[in-house]
Symmetry: C2
Subunit: 295 residues, 2 copies
């Protein structure tokens, strides 16, 4: 494996936000494909065809990426799926493949990292130097100090958890009441952190009303929206509540519904599912904003 005792320089690429806008406009796609390779759901040809199961996992992810890259505004590998199995090398290889084979498609490392300042800096280096991600998800529980080290990486995106898609999230994120829920405090603070236009928020598709309240607080800040597809979020409600003034502003993530659409031919199934998602989003954008300029 590669060791980074002497760290590589951060790669020069277009800022994350510019890559995302290019995807929204030139490719007309608000779709992000989440790369959550579950060993238990790995299609048989990747499980049986590879000498090592690790290679099968990587081949599967690469095939999904190659089959959908022209349909998405970003890819989002979830680091836990790799780390639980010791697949750091494969995660590095996958992200390197995306950068080489699909330049212009940014990588969001879904890591939800957080710690006090000195340690947060190391997590930022893990995401941006070691894995060379264009953006990373972070958790705001420790406050500004824990987010600041991520903001220092010019052009890289910092996507702060705000209102997550899971049913339990209200317990803490909507505390103390509906008037002044914590998640809106986080949203306002994120707008303040956003001095360089590189801060974004996670707002789950499963709570479209909250998504709308977040949108009203953060102006045109992009929102990463998990929870459509397998988690059941309502796409029309997400777009109605979440779009920015230009009829964009959303990075809508689907993982399982794309990755496991077809166990026989995963690549073709993923392409069909991603294409259907992308097209349905475009249809809804046009329906909800008929005046929207289409490039």
């Amino acid at each position: 494996m590669t060791h980074y005792a002497i760290l590589p320089a951060v790669s020069k690429r277009l800022p994350f936000i510019e890559q995302i806008r290019e995807g929204w406009q030139a490719k007309r796609s608000l779709l992000c494909v989440g790369l959550d390779p579950d060993l238990n759901r790995l299609p048989p040809r990747y499980r049986d065809g590879a000498n090592r199961i690790e290679d099968g996992m990587l081949d599967f992810c690469r095939d999904i990426v190659d089959a959908t890259a022209d349909l998405v505004c970003a890819f989002k590998p979830q680091i836990a799926y790799f780390a639980a199995l010791g697949l750091e090398d494969e995660l590095e290889a996958l992200i390197g493949h995306i950068h080489r084979a699909h330049p212009g498609v940014p990588v969001i490392l879904d890591a939800k990292r957080n710690d006090i300042g000195a340690t947060a800096k190391l997590y930022a280096r893990e995401a941006f130097e070691r894995y060379d991600a264009d953006a990373v998800t972070v958790n705001p529980y420790l406050g500004s100090e824990s987010v600041a080290p991520f903001l220092e990486f010019e052009g890289r995106g910092v996507i702060v958890l705000c209102r997550t898609s899971n049913p339990d999230s209200a317990w803490l994120q909507s505390y103390p009441d509906d008037e002044a829920p914590l998640y809106l405090r986080v949203a306002r603070q994120a707008a303040d952190w956003n001095q360089s236009g590189n801060v974004m928020l996670v707002a789950g598709a499963t709570y479209p009303e909250e998504l709308g309240r977040i949108r009203s607080v953060v102006g045109d800040m992009p929102l990463l929206v998990p929870g459509v597809g397998a988690q059941g979020g309502d796409l029309a409600a997400v777009l109605r509540e979440g779009m920015d003034a230009r009829g964009e502003g959303l990075i809508i993530n689907a993982s399982r519904a794309v990755l496991y659409a077809d166990a026989e031919d995963a690549a073709a199934g993923a392409r069909a599912a991603a294409g259907a998602f992308r097209d349905e989003i475009v249809r809804l954008q046009t329906e909800l904003r008929p005046d929207r300029a289409v490039i």
Copy 2:
């Protein structure tokens, strides 16, 4: 590197909480040494002596462990220091060394992981299966669902962030006011999660008053207390506010003040610093609770 596509079974050891109590009582130590090996502060002999700097980092950590194991109730490696540099192998080797050379001294993996249920389960496997930690720190921002998968590992400890030691933490953790701050909501919830006696909380030494309020809510639940030593927390105030009914109940962490006590002879410096911490804690325990039964 080792791959875990087929995961190892979880090792059988005494439950984390029993190992901790043994440390408190038989060794009379509430001290935890944090293993945060900063490449920039690595003593010259480890930097220059090793063929590979990675080996120097591991040797340094092992020497600290061997020099202090009889003085501590736990070790706490911070995963970011390893992950930023691609040192997963070295972290595995370090934890393996602690289990082999110092059985009965539990390992707390400081990872502050968090995600929705399915992904949190993978983080739990990362901590308890891959790294074979006895306990792990987790972030409560996503709610009960994100903590539950960690609780399923029998005997392993789950240490939930409550009130962290950094100055920015009040912004979110004390929201909305001093009457009903979020961190007390987390503390009450943790008491509810604690059906198997394996839940603990992080409460920073830098906020002893809050530590006291947490103690009043959670009964004799152990608290992991960072922030003494380099961060300047007041040890006497920590013990006064934080001890449980038996005059114990605290896992008091020191990292930098122990690791970098002596650049010439790191092991001897660490032993002297850890011994001084341990003895000062015992002195304060005795002073504050003169009636305390000493075993």
